[in-house]
C-alpha cells in the first residue's frame, strides 16, 4: 500500500515544478510594465529604471524564477504592493470561502445526481429514464452564468426567499452564512449533476446485469440492500473519479459564481488582482490553485484504490 502511494507522489514532483515554471512565466510576460504599473502617474524613465533594479526586474528570467521559487519554498510568496498583505494572508482569508462553496456545490450535485442515477438505472428504457437523460443533456448546455441569472431571478427577485449577493462569515451567523451559499452552490450544482448522473447511471446499468446481482436476488435480500450495497459500491468507481476531477475543476470554476454573487473567495481575489495588475497576488494565487488541482487528482487516485480492493492488491 505504501509503495503505491510513494510511487504516485514521486510522479507528482515534475508536474508541480512544471506548473510553477509556467505560472512564473505567464506572470512575467512583460516585466517592464510592472514597474510602470507600480509607479503609475509618477513614472519617469529614471524612476522606472531605479525601481526595476531595486526589484531585480533587470535580471535574466531564469535567475528571477529561481529566486522566486526559493522564496516560495520558504513560504514567502511575496507581498501585494497594493494592499500590503502577504499573498499567503490574502489566500488564507479567501480560501475557506471558496472551499465552502465548492463543497456545498458538489454535495448538492451528488444529492441531485445519485438518486436520479439509481432511479434511471432501475427504470432504464422507460419514458422516465429517457426524459431524465434528455434533461441531463440539455442541462449541460446551460452555462453557469445563465443558471445563476435564472436562479437569482426566481428566488431573489421574484420570491425574495434568498439574498442575491453578499456574504456573512460562518462564525458570525451560521444560518445567514448558509443562506448566502444556497444560490451560488445550486448554480454550480446545476452544471455538475448531469455528468455525475450519467456516469453513475451507465455504470449501474452494467452492474445490474452482472451475475452477482442475480445471486443477491436469489439470496432473497431486500431490494434496497441489493441496490445500495451490492450494486452501488462496484458502480461508484467512475463516479468518484469524476467527482474528484469536478472538484478540481471547480477550484478555478468558482470565479464566475463568486463574481456574480459577490462572495469573497479565491476567484474574486484573482479577478481583482488582474484588474489592478497586482502581479504578485496573481502569481501566488494561480500557483496555489494549480497546485490544488494537481493535489486533487492525486487524492482521487488514492480513493480509487480504497474503493476497489482489487487495485490495492494489484489484481484489476
Amino acid at each position: 500500500m505504501f509503495a503505491f502511494i510513494a510511487r504516485r507522489l514521486l510522479y507528482l514532483l515534475p508536474v508541480l515544478i512544471a506548473v510553477s515554471l509556467l505560472t512564473f512565466l505567464i506572470a512575467s510576460l512583460l516585466p517592464g510594465d510592472l514597474a510602470y504599473v507600480i509607479l503609475g502617474d509618477q513614472a519617469t524613465p529614471e524612476k522606472v529604471e531605479a525601481l526595476r533594479q531595486d526589484m531585480g526586474l533587470d535580471q535574466p528570467v531564469w535567475w528571477r524564477y529561481l529566486g522566486w521559487l526559493g522564496h516560495v519554498l520558504q513560504g514567502d510568496f511575496g507581498r501585494s504592493f497594493r494592499t500590503g498583505q502577504t499573498v499567503l494572508q490574502a489566500v488564507a482569508e479567501r480560501l475557506p470561502v471558496s472551499f465552502e462553496l465548492m463543497l456545498l456545490a458538489e454535495i448538492a450535485a451528488l444529492a441531485i445526481g445519485i438518486p436520479l442515477a439509481i432511479a434511471c438505472a432501475v427504470k432504464s428504457g422507460t419514458a422516465f429514464d429517457r426524459f431524465m437523460t434528455g434533461s441531463a443533456f440539455g442541462m449541460l448546455s446551460v452555462p453557469t452564468f445563465l443558471s445563476a441569472i435564472l436562479l437569482i431571478y426566481l428566488f431573489a427577485v421574484q420570491l425574495h426567499w434568498l439574498p442575491a449577493t453578499g456574504y456573512v462569515p460562518f462564525s458570525e451567523d451560521p444560518i445567514g452564512n448558509l443562506r448566502c451559499f444556497v444560490l451560488p452552490a445550486l448554480t454550480l450544482a446545476l452544471g455538475e449533476w448531469p455528468v455525475l448522473m450519467r456516469v453513475l447511471r451507465s455504470d449501474m446499468i452494467a452492474t445490474l446485469q452482472e451475475d452477482f446481482i442475480a445471486m443477491a436476488r436469489a439470496k432473497g435480500l431486500k431490494p434496497s440492500r441489493i441496490l445500495l450495497v451490492h450494486a452501488l459500491k462496484p458502480s461508484s468507481l467512475t463516479l468518484v473519479t469524476v467527482t474528484g476531477i469536478n472538484i478540481g475543476r471547480l477550484i478555478g470554476g468558482t470565479v464566475i459564481v463568486e463574481q456574480i454573487f459577490a462572495l469573497p473567495g479565491i476567484g474574486r481575489l484573482l479577478v481583482g488582482a488582474i484588474t489592478t495588475r497586482d502581479l504578485i497576488i496573481l502569481q501566488g494565487v494561480v500557483l496555489v490553485v494549480a497546485f490544488g488541482y494537481v493535489l486533487m487528482n492525486f487524492i482521487v487516485d488514492m480513493l480509487y484504490a480504497v474503493l476497489d480492493p482489487r487495485i490495492r492488491h494489484g489484481h484489476a
Binding site: 451475475d211 452477482f212 442475480a214 445471486m215 436476488r217 432473497g220 435480500l221 451490492h230
Partner: protein, 331 residues
C-alpha cells in the same frame, strides 16, 4: 414417494423476444422433484436448461415471458407476490451458479456475503451470524475459516470460491438446492471434490437437489433421476440407473458415447455429435434432433414426438425410432 412432490414444474415455457423473432428457450417442460431426492438435468449448451432453472427460481431477464406453473411446497411461484417470494428464497430455495468469480460480489468480503443472508432470513445478531458463518465455511471444507471472513473473492482459488458459494446456498437450510453447472468453471481435479461435497451435504440435510450439467458422467451415481433436455424440451426422463442401463433416445446414447472412457484404447476418437443444436428462433416442424440423428426416419421430419412412457411408468422418452440397446454401462 409418498405425498405430493416438493417441486412440480408444469408445462413451463419461456419465450424471449429478440430482433430476429421470438426465441422459445423452454418449450413445455414437465418435471417433478420429491423432497430429499436428486434430479439431474443434462443437455448441450443452448438446450434451455439454464433458462429452465431461472424460470424455476423466478430470476428470468425482464423481457422474458413465462407460462405454465411452478409449484413449490404447495405454492405456485409464478403467481406468488414478490415479497412472499423473497422470503422464500435462501430459506427454502437456494442456488449455486456456474462461475463463482462472477456470482460473488467482488467488492464485498466473504463474511459480508455470508452474514447478510443469515441476518436477512434467520434474524441472527452480528456475533451469532459470524459464528454460524465460520461453522458453515468449515463444513464445506475451507481451511482457516475465520481468516476467510475478511477476505475478498479474488483472494481465493476457484475451488474455494465455489465452496463459499455452496456455503452461502446452504446457510439457511433450504429445502431445494439448484446447482447450475457447479463444476464447469473449475479445474478437473477439483470437480469431483465439489460434486462429492454437494452430494454429502444433500444426504446429510435430506435436501432436494437439482444438478444441471452438460456432462452425463456428472449425474451418474449422484442423482436419483435424470432428465435429458434438447432444444427446450425434455426428451428422455428416467431413474438414473434405469437410464444408464437402457437408453431409448438416440440423443442420450450420443451423449453417453461422448464421455471419454478410461479403459478405451489410447487415441480412440471421441465420437462427438455431428452438427449443431437448432436455431431456437426457427423451430423445426418435426423432431428437433432429426438433422443430427443416426437413426432418423421419414416420420421424424414430419411430426414432433411427444414424451411417452417406456416399459415402466417412470421412464419416458420422446422418439419415433428409439434404440433398443442395453448400454451395459453400470451407473
Amino acid at each position: 414417494m409418498t405425498g405430493a412432490p416438493l417441486l412440480s414444474v408444469e408445462d413451463v415455457a419461456v419465450d424471449l423476444p429478440t430482433p430476429r423473432g421470438n426465441l422459445r428457450a423452454v418449450d413445455g417442460v414437465d418435471l417433478t422433484v420429491g423432497a430429499g431426492r436428486t434430479l439431474g438435468i443434462v443437455g448441450e449448451s443452448g438446450c434451455g436448461k439454464t433458462m429452465l432453472s431461472r424460470a424455476i427460481l423466478q430470476l428470468l431477464p425482464r423481457k422474458a415471458k413465462l407460462s405454465g406453473r411452478v409449484r413449490f411446497d404447495g405454492q405456485d411461484l409464478v403467481r406468488l407476490a414478490p415479497e412472499a417470494l423473497r422470503k422464500l428464497r435462501a430459506r427454502s430455495l437456494a442456488v449455486v451458479f456456474q462461475d463463482p468469480m462472477t456470482s460473488l460480489n467482488p467488492v464485498l468480503t466473504i463474511g459480508t456475503q455470508l452474514i447478510e443472508t443469515l441476518q436477512e432470513h434467520l434474524e441472527l445478531d452480528q456475533a451469532a451470524a459470524k459464528r454460524r458463518s465460520i461453522e458453515l465455511l468449515a463444513a464445506v471444507g475451507i481451511p482457516a475459516p475465520e481468516a476467510r471472513l475478511m477476505q475478498y473473492p479474488h483472494q481465493l482459488s476457484g475451488g474455494m470460491r465455489q465452496r463459499v458459494a455452496i456455503a452461502i446456498a446452504l446457510s439457511c437450510e433450504p429445502k431445494l438446492l439448484i446447482a447450475d453447472e457447479p463444476t464447469t468453471a473449475l479445474d478437473v481435479t477439483i470437480q469431483a471434490q465439489i460434486l462429492d461435497l454437494l452430494a454429502r451435504e444433500q444426504r446429510r440435510r435430506h435436501m432436494a437437489m437439482i444438478i444441471i450439467t452438460h456432462d452425463l458422467g456428472v449425474v451418474a451415481g449422484r442423482t436419483d433421476e435424470v432428465a435429458v433436455m434438447y432444444a427446450g424440451r425434455v426428451v428422455e426422463r428416467a431413474p438414473t440407473h434405469a437410464l444408464f442401463k437402457r437408453m431409448h433416445m438416440p440423443y442420450t446414447e450420443a451423449l453417453l458415447a461422448a464421455i471419454p472412457k478410461i479403459d478405451a484404447a489410447p487415441h480412440t476418437r471421441l465420437p462427438a455429435i455431428s452438427g449443431r443444436p437448432p436455431d431456437p428462433t426457427r423451430p423445426l416442424k418435426g423432431c428437433s434432433f432429426s438433422p443430427r440423428c443416426r437413426y432418423v426416419a421419414r416420420r421424424c421430419h414430419a411430426e414432433k414426438p411427444l414424451l411417452a412412457k417406456a416399459e415402466s411408468s417412470d421412464h419416458e422418452f420422446a422418439c419415433f425410432n428409439p434404440i433398443h440397446v442395453e448400454a451395459g454401462v453400470s451407473a
